[in-house]
């Protein structure tokens, strides 16, 4: 899972719904596993499969026209439950980047901790990107983490996106927070003895 980030260029899977909560990303009844594997199979389970387990053709993940490493979603993606299983499901399915105009806080942290990059774009950029993908499903997007830019290759338009320098360093070097915290134990003990 710790594949280092640099520049990613990919086609996209569009999900133009707002307030997609983590109960939709991975329903509670699939949270009973004790490992991180296999959640990708149940990503968006109840939108993706009917009660008998047959794929619902109208849902975007079942439409072969759309594929890629980038999920593009409406605003306030990942609201609700703190379940990191949502990030494991997205990573497990094969997405490396989620683009939206707004993310819920806990989801954003969980994504970053699983080397899935949440890219926040303006409402306008998002609306244009949905339009480009609708017009041509092969529309590519380039996400350049070192320069913190995202480019809609269909329109040529780019935007800067924000990420704190520390998290950027972690993603580009395949490091996680525990590595950092463990190297910092003297400070913790010093704080405790205050």
């Amino acid at each position: 899972m710790k594949e280092k980030f640099n520049i990613t260029t990919s086609t996209c899977v569009p999900l133009p719904l707002e307030n997609v909560d983590t109960d939709q990303i991975i329903p509670a009844r699939f949270l009973k596993a004790t490992t991180k594997e296999g959640f990708g199979d149940n990503l968006f389970r109840d939108w993706r499969y009917d009660k008998q387990g047959n794929p619902i053709e109208t849902f975007v993940l079942n439409n072969p026209t759309y594929s890629g490493k980038i999920l593009v979603a409406g605003k306030n993606f990942g609201s609700g439950s703190s379940r990191e299983h949502a990030a494991w499901a997205i990573a497990g399915y094969g997405f490396r980047i989620v683009v939206s105009s707004f993310f819920a806080d806990i989801f954003k942290n969980n994504a970053l901790n699983n080397f899935v990059l949440p890219v926040v774009v303006s409402d306008k950029f998002l609306a244009e990107l949905f339009a480009s993908i609708k017009e041509d499903a092969k529309t590519e997007v380039e996400v350049d983490l070192p320069n913190q830019t995202i480019t809609n290759k269909a329109t040529g338009k780019s935007e800067q996106f924000q990420i704190n320098a520390y998290k950027k360093h972690c993603l580009m070097n395949g490091l996680d927070d525990i590595d950092y915290l463990l190297s910092n134990k003297d400070k913790i003990e010093a704080w405790e003895s205050k």
């Binding site: 509670a28 990191e84 927070d177």
Partner: protein
Amino acid sequence: MKTLFDKIWDAHVVSTVEDGPTQLYIDRLYCHEVTSPQAFSGMRDRGLKCFRPEKIFCIPDHNIPTLNQDKEIVDPISRNQVAALDKNAKDFGLTYFGMGHKKNGIIHVVGPENGLTLPGMTIVCGDSHTSTHGAMGAIAFGIGTSEVEMVMASQCVLQSRPKTMRITVDGKLGKGVNAKDIALYIIAKMTTGGATGYFVEYAGEAVRDLTMEGRLTLCNLSIEMGARGGMIAPDEKTIEYIKGREYAPKGEAWEKAVEYWKTLKSDSDAEFDKEITFKAEDIEPMITYGTNPGMGLGISSNIPTIESVPEAGRISYAKSLEYMGFKAGDSMLGKKIDYVFLGSCTNGRIEDFREFASFVKGKKKAANVVAWLVPGSWAVDQQIREEGLDKILNEAGFELRQPGCSACLAMNEDKVPAGKYAVSTSNRNFEGRQGPGARTLLASPLVAAAAAVTGEITDPRVLMA
């Protein structure tokens, strides 16, 4: 000129990463069985022990059945997940209140009632409703499993400092209106993402007037508008609530703690990044009609028209009403319902059962309604019996089940069937939350009680003496 949030946060900063997050010391980590197993595995893979095991408390709640807790859990996958917490708590030397233990219950109910949650603390759990504990005057927030592992390994998390928001509710609440209605009203005004990036302090007369149980309900729902957490400054009511509870400080330590807790309030000249004020008198009993907690309205109102929704949100809005089987413009009153759920970390406390019981006393459960009444903990169950509420409930045709998260998220057997309507005192009305295809209407214990006895959505004020 510090806010309550600033005072507690600043006191817990261990270091600040250059151009990055804060390393925050955590006083209390609560673990339940769903969001902890992968963290324990991570610890094992790295060959680590818990850095401060005495600050970690493990309580299974999500998968716990609400019948026959003296027997094995029937579902093998649920049983396995609970057994994993059992073993992990033992292997890592952590305090464990397992299924059937007299201190078992929903983690966010058990923490405050045992004095484990105290003012001035930083508290985390792999659960978004950790915001509940903020009612005691603590910084409490939900985290992911990777972060649970961080706390196990170092008793710290790395977090960006959130912005601060104060929500003031002035004035007195009307008859039949309680903490749940305040919360659903605020969330409806703020929308489901409206407080994202902020930590909220609730203030004002209507908030101060709430009981501790009411305050826990209000703070519990902070996450439903996206807030990182919610908190209320401790006062005499808070101190009175904590006094004598098992894990609360005693003797000299108590005196010292109380002295410190009294300093935990926002200074009069403290500045918040955002200030919002509501009037208590504008709030009526609330109910939700859609598929996120922001889709709520006063019980006598009609469902908004599609034209009133901003254009980018209309596909989602139409999808939501279709799922619920409602039409824009419909009245909520008089809609038939099938299930009633009283319980959860939102409304599973003694006051919620008192309210429900006081309403149904002398009335009868509607024949078409299936009602699940699930105390938030064994301690709540015991108090229900001590106060004789169980008899009132039984006479009205209701039965108590055993404590756990239950139908709030339907990880156990308590699932609302597809297409059925449930008036639920829980916290989320997301698609499928109470079972695949289930339709959830969030409301207060009083509105739930009124629905339970009439079989339809009813304004409880009409039937109140």
